[in-house]
Subunit: 172 residues, 2 copies
DNA sequence: GTGGATGCAAAGAATTTGCAACCAA
DNA sequence: TTGGTTGCAAATTCTTTGCATCCAC
């Protein structure tokens, strides 16, 4: 969608930046429609997220990028913006440091994280008990899971605008 | 169980330290059977966790304790030990900072966190989709949830002792 | 041209480490 | 008595903020 006519876009044919041109275009369109600018660092970050297509740490992301592609601070800022936009989803299963995952089509999936090596795989089943069984069949051992819910409680709905939202609380 | 005869225990009747003597005894027994020492700071921390009976931040826990009860560093160290032991469970739904919850009887429950005020309530339903409906009936809005699974993957089982576990990965 | 975005440096917050003193067993 | 624990201070790591410069629109 974006840069359908390459010479029009200041960064040229955006699809050249990645082997998978389509997802990048989708991401750029989301940025554009939110009134955000499409910059070289942002493209680099989105590309890296698309290539991984799995939750990554900010540190890992920084290593993935070319040395001069983007400052670490910019990664922090962009991921904050992308998360706000819903273009990126933040994951919480790691040691408290954020892991970020590209989220182009709001696919509701879960993850299985190896307790030993930390490897992350995607799983699509939606019921937890059933999923644990499936995972055992797949050869995983010591399977546990984590479930948390988020919502706005009745009290806060009453107070509505009186209280300012907890900015520090990042939810799915 | 512990300190059934008060004068035997160096800290006296342990149940005096809290209004709910029983849970504290259980916790102390777990410490003892793991070969860990029952100290004044540890008792204070466990008491505070029991009083809360809900996930708390380290900062909050530090405020809950009497001024000279325990150093902040000691709280960090104790919670790490308690988590390792399974006496405490670490929660991840906050902004990346750890929240800790006492876990005396391995009760498998989930939480509902208010997106606005951060209030945490316990919920016992086990299936997620069903639970979202229940929460809506309870008056919550904008309900979402987070599910992650943990286990040891087949690869790691083969390598077994060859690889050392990811110490940074704290799982339920 | 203009305002949003970036890079650099520096501040701030969260967490860990080193080490001597302490105290539960 | 002895080794696990603690407190204090300082080091690290992680994340945010300020501000001048830059560049997408």
């Amino acid at each position: 969608m974006i840069a359908s006519s390459p010479s029009n876009h200041p960064l040229g044919d955006v699809s050249n930046f990645t082997r998978t041109g389509k997802p990048l275009d989708t991401a750029c369109a989301r940025l554009k429609s939110a009134g955000l600018r499409i910059t070289r660092p942002r493209i680099a970050i989105i590309e890296a997220l698309i290539r991984r297509d799995n939750p990554v740490s900010i540190e890992q992301l920084h290593q993935d990028l070319a040395d001069d592609a983007c400052d670490l601070v910019t990664i922090y800022r962009c991921l904050a913006v992308f998360t706000e936009l819903g273009l990126v989803r933040r994951c919480f299963f790691h040691n408290g440091t954020g892991l970020y995952e590209i989220n182009l089509n709001d696919s509701r999936h879960h993850h299985i994280v190896c307790k030993t090596c930390g490897k992350v795989e995607r799983i699509d089943a939606s019921f937890t008990e059933n999923t644990e069984r499936i995972l055992c069949e797949r050869g995983y051992e010591q399977v546990t899971h984590l479930v948390e819910f988020f919502g706005v409680c009745p009290d806060c709905q009453k107070k509505a605008s009186a209280t300012r939202p907890l900015s520090s609380l990042i939810t799915p």
